[in-house]
């Protein structure tokens, strides 16, 4: 179904704990008068890997952007790691430093080298000494397999390399939760694989991950749960095998037939 995942992933050891990482209840969001997210209820356990999919405009990106308050919700409750997101800036900063985010367009800082991209937040938010921050950054750059690019600027790297740097940059903050907002959508097919491999490696280490993606191969290989959204609502959620082989809702069936049909 999707040739980018070429190895069997052993998920048996990826334990999901009972601890709640994210709790969203009765959450609603509007853009002006447009109701983008309607009555979202969702619990994410620590160590869970969730893939969110759905047609464009279904609110999936908005949903994960609400989790680190890049978007503000107007009703309901979001609790991340025991901290509720309100307009209190202290809580927002606390949540943001615990939650890493990877964007569709990488959003690396073009005026800083790869290494500086990775050390900036640890130095200025976590107050890590520079030397230590650099060691940590090199550790994660090795992990995403591009330590040799550390002193280059983002503009000198390929898209796939940039996205791996973006992942390393997030990891340098030692987040407990990672959000991925269509991390492979802006990449060439060849580069998608290198980014997905990095994400799989992360999943194997037990990171709590929420991933908006159209990579159904990735969803089947690593997700514990697939959430399908349409028109700002969660339409269906299930464990991947059931979700793909035996979808319940007509909307889901239509969506799956369209993206897997060809």
């Amino acid at each position: 179904m999707n040739e980018t995942i070429d190895r069997p992933i052993d998920t048996s050891h990826m334990q999901v704990s009972d601890e709640v990482a994210i709790q969203i209840s009765q959450m609603n969001k509007w853009y002006g008068t447009f109701h983008v997210l309607r009555d979202i209820n969702m619990t994410v356990q620590r160590g869970e890997r969730i893939v969110i999919c759905g047609p464009s405009g279904s609110g999936k990106s908005t949903l994960i952007r609400c989790i680190n308050r890049l978007e503000e919700h107007q009703a309901g409750q979001i609790v991340v790691d025991g901290t509720e997101l309100t307009s209190d800036l202290k809580n927002i900063d606390k949540v943001r430093s615990e939650v890493g985010m990877v964007f569709q367009h990488f959003n690396l800082f073009p005026h800083l080298t790869i290494l500086e991209n990775c050390t900036l937040a640890p130095i200025w938010v976590r107050k890590t000494p520079k030397k230590e921050a650099e060691e940590v950054a090199m550790h994660f750059l090795r992990k995403v397999k591009i330590p040799e690019q550390a002193n280059k600027y983002p503009g000198q790297l390929s898209g796939g390399q940039q996205q791996r740097v973006a992942i390393a940059r997030s990891l340098c903050m030692k987040p407990r939760i990672m959000l991925f907002d269509e991390p492979t959508s802006a990449l060439d097919p060849e580069m998608i694989k290198e980014v997905l491999d990095t994400m799989i490696a992360l999943a194997e280490e037990g990171m709590t991950m929420l991933c908006v993606t159209h990579e159904m191969g990735f969803a089947q290989a690593v997700a514990n749960r697939v959430i399908f959204m349409d028109q700002g609502q969660i339409v269906e959620q299930n464990e991947p095998r059931e979700f793909f082989n035996n979808p319940k809702s007509d909307r889901t069936k239509l969506f799956l037939s369209q993206i897997l049909g060809h």
Binding site: R69, D93, V99, N107, A121, W124
Partner: protein, 485 residues
């Protein structure tokens, strides 16, 4: 046999062709001339016409430049010397006026014996700028400082400074060079202290005045440090600033008076109306440039703020200032501002002009910086937010370095415009180099009727300074270009 077949006959090359130069008409100067000057009939006509114009200009002005007279005491003597040199009816430039009056173009009516003070202040300006201009390039910084040191000594001797002050300057510059070599980071103190040092050198008076003002900043920092753990950054800064204002407005005068009576150290006080020429242009220009950039950045941020009141105030300020001619602001400075101040406050005219020129420039800078901010993709803000950087940290490390880099050409244009606009202070009776000093020179009976030479002299100096700024901005753009687009 068809044509097609003839081309498919097997062929094997047995000797390789050596490289050859292109034909003579297709290389070097000949090619350049053909391509750039005579590439077609129209182009050829335009080339000939341009050459004709250049020739006519040279024909009429070259004798004037070549017949320059440097030694004379009046315009009449100049003319006589030109006639004697080049014959009846010849014209010639009379640079003798610059030779005799250069000090007025440079310093206005600043006392002649004290020229070492503005010269030293000017040299220290470059010392203050060194860490800003070449902070990360030790070699360039040392070259700059060494050139400044040499130029300073030569200039001091040139303006006839006594040996004591020249040796003082040499020692000071040697110390600065040593600091720059051994502890470059410390050089930033020269930058921070320069406003007070420069003010003291230019205006003189008691040394305790500038020190008192600096102590106000000390109060600010002390209160901020004290309150930071309890009240956070914003309240700490606000209360620190309040405490500093209390110091400046209510306490400082008493303390400095007492200190001055105990230790009456200082330099001879110079009145603002003795300032003139490029000394005045630099005093106003440099201060306004240095102050308008941070103010402009704050205004640009205010204009993009989510906070309604801050946004409205910023927009109102920017639009008001941009809607009013600079001359109006200058008249406000010289006439109106006094009405709003308590009676008997003696608020220096140059200071008032500097404040209003600064406000004027900051509105333009704000709009330029806003352009840079708007050019940044939203993703940069989001990435900074997502990493947990707060507003000010994101501004300092992510947003401003990029937005200012984009805005460099616009900012430097504003600075150049501001520097040239300092000549407008002639309208409020200050002695700017272009109109003020030149009018005085031309009012002298000896130099009555001269007009090209002073304007060319002043114009050349303005050009050199503005061209220098423009070149530096190009260097900066190149240095900061990291996006590899």
């Amino acid at each position: 046999m068809s044509e097609l077949h003839a081309q498919t006959v097997p062929f094997v090359r047995d000797s390789m062709l050596p490289q050859e130069l292109p034909p003579a008409s297709q290389r070097g100067a000949v090619k350049w001339v053909r391509e750039n000057l005579f590439s077609g009939p129209m182009n050829t006509i335009l080339t000939v016409l341009s050459l004709l114009v250049v020739f006519l200009i040279l024909q009429s002005s070259l004798p004037w430049w070549l017949n320059s007279v440097w030694n004379a005491n009046s315009l009449a003597e100049c003319r006589a010397a030109v006639q004697a040199m080049a014959g009846e009816g010849a014209t010639g430039a009379c640079w003798a006026v610059i030779r005799e009056r250069w000090h007025q173009f440079m310093f206005g009516f600043y006392p002649r014996g004290l020229y070492w003070r503005p010269v030293l202040a000017f040299a220290l300006l470059f010392v203050a700028l060194a860490p800003v201009l070449f902070g990360d390039n030790a070699r360039k910084r040392m070259i700059l400082l060494a050139c400044v040191a040499v130029a300073l000594v030569l200039a001091l001797i040139g303006v006839g400074t006594d040996l004591a002050h020249v040796s003082f300057a040499i020692v000071a510059m040697a110390a600065i060079l040593a600091v720059s070599h051994l502890a470059p980071a410390r050089l930033i103190w020269a930058t921070l202290l320069f406003p007070a040092v420069g003010f003291f050198l230019l205006w003189g008076g008691s040394v305790w005045g500038p020190i008192g003002v600096l102590m106000g900043f000390g109060v600010l920092v002390a209160v901020y440090r004290l309150l930071l753990p309890m009240l956070g950054v914003v309240m700490g800064t606000a209360l620190g600033f309040l405490a500093a204002c209390v110091w400046w407005l209510m306490i400082q005068t008493h303390v400095t008076t007492v200190l001055h009576n105990l230790m009456p150290w200082g330099l001879e006080a110079i009145d603002s109306d003795q300032f003139g020429g490029f000394l005045l242009a630099f005093t106003i220009g440099v201060t306004a440039i240095a102050a308008s950039l941070p103010l402009g950045i704050l205004l640009a941020l205010g204009r993009r703020s989510d906070m309604f009141l801050i946004k409205t105030l910023s927009v109102g300020f920017i639009e008001f200032i941009r809607g009013v001619p600079l001359i109006t602001m200058l008249f406000t400075a010289s006439l109106l501002l006094q009405y709003f101040l308590p009676p008997q406050t003696n608020f220096d005219l140059i200071l008032r002009v500097i404040i209003l020129v600064t406000l004027f420039a900051s509105a333009y800078i704000a709009e330029v910086v806003r352009g840079g901010l708007a050019a940044l993709p939203r993703g940069q803000y989001e990435a900074a937010d997502a990493l947990g950087l707060d507003y000010w940290k994101a501004q300092r490390h992510i947003i401003m370095p990029q937005a200012l880099k984009i805005s460099i050409p616009g900012i430097v244009s504003s600075f150049i415009g501001l520097f040239k606009d300092t000549t407008l202070v002639a309208f409020v009776g200050l002695l700017d180099p272009l109109k003020g000093v030149t009018a005085i020179v031309r009012a002298d009976i000896n130099w009555k009727g001269i007009y090209w030479e002073p304007y060319i002299f002043v114009g050349t100096i303005f050009f050199l300074i503005c061209f220098g700024m423009s070149r530096y901005s190009m260097y900066l753009e190149k240095k900061l270009k990291t996006d590899h687009r």
